[in-house]
């Protein structure tokens, strides 16, 4: 037996547990309750002001969260990857560690912290909590790219007379774009699809798109829920094409 055949069991597994389920989203989205083909679920979304409103809010929150994560995370990643400024490998572990703690529990603790300081729950606390949850996912891929970057490019620019500021903007930043792209991929879509977290951070005032999907599935409106999931899948496809840096996104995690 050839050794390349060893991947066959996993290929079958992926077929059943990844490809088929995604196809089923498409199938259910294009069916009515009795199994007939229809586009009604899709058109319903575009006339459902509740779902549309939630969708707009989700995109807005996701864009704001992604931008704040880049603004806060890029300098942090740059400092962590800079051998002169940070010599300890433990620091980076400490930064990615919160990713592995139960997000619900962290969120609830954040909400309680706001309560203790008398800060009312709303849009502001939602963004704050989202940045808490997703900042490590932005820092880590950028750090990885900066860390592996060939330092001789920056040195060459310096030798040719560029100021440190110019070296940073014209060499370091462009070369680190794949890391930023993966960070965006790992922050933007998960923010849109968040459910449960947004309710806890806003005391049920603001819902995000993931919650709408969950509510429909849980109240047995599978076809409409599937249609909403399909809409998200389409957006994921588009945003992956834009960022392109799919490969680094996963490799950045390891």
């Amino acid at each position: 037996m050839k050794r390349s055949h060893w991947s066959i069991p996993y290929a079958i597994f992926l077929g059943v547990f990844v490809v088929l389920p995604l196809l089923l989203i498409l199938v259910y989205a294009l069916q009515d309750g009795s199994g007939h083909f229809t586009l009604a679920n899709i058109t319903r979304f575009f006339s459902d002001s509740d779902a549309l409103g939630t969708f707009a809010v989700s995109i807005e929150v996701a864009i704001e969260n992604t931008l704040i994560c880049i603004l806060l995370g890029y300098p942090a990643a740059w400092i962590l990857a800079n051998k002169e400024l940070n010599r300890s490998a433990v620091t980076i572990v400490l930064f990615i560690l919160p990713m592995w703690i139960n997000a619900l529990m962290r969120t609830l603790a954040t909400a309680e912290l706001f309560g203790m300081f008398g800060i009312p729950l709303g849009k502001g606390t939602l963004l704050f909590g989202m940045v808490y949850d997703y900042l490590p996912f932005m820092i880590y891929p950028i750090y990885n790219v900066l860390n592996k970057m060939d330092k001789s490019y920056a040195e060459a620019a310096q030798d040719l007379g560029a100021t440190p500021w110019k070296v940073f903007w014209k060499v370091t930043v462009p070369l680190s774009m794949p890391g930023v792209a993966s960070g965006v991929l790992m922050v933007f879509m998960p923010t849109v699809s968040t459910f449960a977290i947004s309710e806890f951070l806003t005391n049920n005032k603001i819902k995000l798109f993931g919650t709408i999907i969950q509510e429909n599935i849980n109240s047995s409106m599978w076809n409409y829920g599937a249609a909403l999931a399909l809409i998200m899948l389409v957006i994921i496809g588009i945003s992956t094409m834009f960022t392109g840096g799919r490969k680094e996104a996963e490799e950045a995690l390891i």
Binding site: L72, A76, L108, E112, R246
Partner: protein
């Protein structure tokens, strides 16, 4: 000066990131029902947790047991399936390799909700009764890609001739596998196992959609239900503090080991 500013920035971010975790840890040492109200130092919550004397204790302990059982089983299967798949993938080329790599990436890119809904529809479609098995299968599906990605670099570093050399020197294929191949892959397999394990521990959305209606609760779904009822079970505070410490030790262990291995190379 520059170094001082950089250090300050890192420390401020660190304090912000850890504030909620420290908050939980601090209030695990008091008896107050509500987090944020300090009424004296006490290790009562820890005692309650270990002796099981608390309100609704049986369901919390059952949730912890379920979480660990699901994480262990799914990470173990992921490790096995992912390692075999990585060996196959390493020996593939061209279109097949690209296709499999692409499929392997999907579970990592998909948001939890999409994974959860799609697997929910799968189990409905197959008339598969949802419960332990459906949750474990779902966790295997998002854990295995991490094992594959952890084992692949080890295969690349390995000298491809050692396996053949073992066979030439008279080892049976299974001896060559266990004495030559597996020892070289073991670090990647262990990292992959730990990643799949922690992903499973942390999961909420996928479990939520695939656990069915048999009343199966993991820690995440327990916390969710608890918070919806209003007011978290106080014993969750010491529990989360302990979990946090365990994960801290595990991650530091992986990283120190990796740093050592890089040095020895």
């Amino acid at each position: 000066m520059k170094k001082f500013l950089a250090q300050c920035y890192i420390w401020i971010l660190m304090v912000l990131l850890y504030a909620p975790l420290v908050f939980i840890a601090v209030f695990s040492f008091t008896e107050g029902k509500v987090m944020g109200r300090w009424n004296g130092f006490s290790t009562r919550l820890y005692q309650n947790l270990f002796t099981g004397q608390m309100q609704g204790s049986s369901s919390l302990i059952a949730a912890v047991e379920n979480t660990l059982l699901i994480a262990l089983v799914s990470a173990a299967v992921s490790m096995l399936l992912g390692t075999i798949a990585a060996i196959g993938l390493h020996n593939m080329s061209g279109r097949g390799r690209r296709a499999l790599t692409f499929l392997n990436n999907i579970p990592m890119i998909n948001p939890d909700v999409i994974t959860g809904v799609s697997l929910f529809l799968l189990f409905i479609f197959l008339h598969f009764t949802q419960g332990y098995l459906s949750v474990i299968l779902s966790h295997i599906s998002f854990g295995t890609p991490y094992v594959v990605l952890s084992v692949l670099p080890k295969l690349r570093q390995m000298n491809p001739n050692t396996y053949e050399a073992a066979l030439d020197l008279g080892a049976t294929p299974s001896q060559a596998l266990w004495k030559v191949l597996i020892p070289q892959l073991r670090p990647g397999m262990i990292s992959g196992f730990i990643l799949a394990f922690t992903m499973s521990l942390d999961d909420f959305a996928v479990t939520f959609f695939t656990r069915g209606t048999i009343g199966l609760e993991t820690l995440s779904t327990y916390i969710y239900a608890d918070a919806r009822k209003g007011g978290l079970t106080p014993e969750l505070r010491p529990l989360m503090t302990l979990i946090f410490l365990i994960i801290l030790v595990l991650l530091l262990f992986i990283n120190v080991r990796q740093a050592k291995m890089q040095k020895s190379e």
